[in-house]
Amino acid sequence: MQIHTKHYRISAAILIALAAVVCVLLSTQFLSMREEEPIYPGEGVTQTRMLSDWYPAIRGTAGDTEVYVLQGAADGDSMLVLGGTHPNEPSGLLSAVMLIENAKMETGTLYIIPRTNNSAFTCTDPQEGTPMRFHISTPEGERWFRFGSRATNPIHQWPDPEIYVHASSGQRLSGSETRNINRSYPGRTDGNFTESISYAITQLIQQEGVDITIDLHEASPEYPTINAVVAHEDAMELASWALLGMQMEGMDIALEPSPKNLHGLTHRELGDYTDTLAVLMETANASQGRLRGKTDERLIVEGKDKFYVRAAQYGRLYVPFDENGHPLSERVARHTTGILQFAQAYNDLGLGTIQITGMPTFVEMQTDLGPYLIPKAKN
């Protein structure tokens, strides 16, 4: 069908003006994702630094991000917690926030990066239809958090190559993986934007002599590595001991070795290139899965999905899935309990001393996160 008009120049001008209006309206939405969710550091936080303190080249870029330091009164060993490596895996961010706002260190130092890939928080994944934010109810009001992308925002790193070659191993992956920070470790100074962020994190670990690094993730219920810890071979003894503690808390969790032929991930490269004991933890996130229904805030927070219940009945999942789903509170409880158990295992094995206090129990967090995320006046 064609609709011809003799006033085509006027219609062109009108349509261009309309396109400009649409651009303005869409811009307000897209730019809203650059607003950072408030985090209220608790009494345990002794310093708030920026990642660029350890690698100045990223200062002023979207890759720079806050590092919360909780230093105990007594000298001890150190742990780094990476939340928000993939901002579409919300329990990582939220677990980090729980620690920042509640934990105290008796001995040793805890470094927490809640938004490891800060750039990836500023956009959502195209064609996934995810909301930009989700909300957590607390006794004193609602808190909001962003639901971002798995990868660096393409406006910060563009174009993607056809094939992404991991510099230190030669591993070849799809070009889009060039923006996945968890394929870019240990990073490099002459690489792309994402590799510069992972290089900064590697520098933090090396310069501070971080003893344990825990990277928090989620996976879809049909993914085989789920409700699991993945450990570098150097960290396997520690992980085994920590898992016993988690299981005694009522967590059903598995232990997987870090594959030696899969490069760029924290549990492989940080273990190979630094002295840190590198582990990664996964929980079950229905909002990431391919079988999910409507992708709304409810799915992110409550973790319930009737299609996954059906898939579980057909035996297609790697995690039990019933009408109760896997709510965000359960996933955060798993991560934070795991972190505490890693610290305890480190002490029990005589590797050193890291004492974290002030955190609620697994059952308390699993029941409701709200009481532990009460918004406070910023310091």
Binding site: I16, A19, L26, P159
Partner: protein
């Protein structure tokens, strides 16, 4: 490489606008206007 790609996007946007003013079919003008939106957002590094 970023600036090369942004240059290509700018050229494309200019070409589309140029053709909109020469196209007599309103439906094709509408298609072009729809295509312009993501190009402008990428040119401004918003999306």
């Amino acid at each position: 490489m970023l600036y090369v790609y942004l240059g290509l996007v700018l050229l494309l946007a200019i070409g589309i606008i140029w053709n909109m003013f020469r196209e007599k079919d309103i439906l094709k003008q509408l298609d072009a206007a729809l295509v312009l939106v993501p190009l402008i957002l990428r040119l401004l590094l918003i999306k």
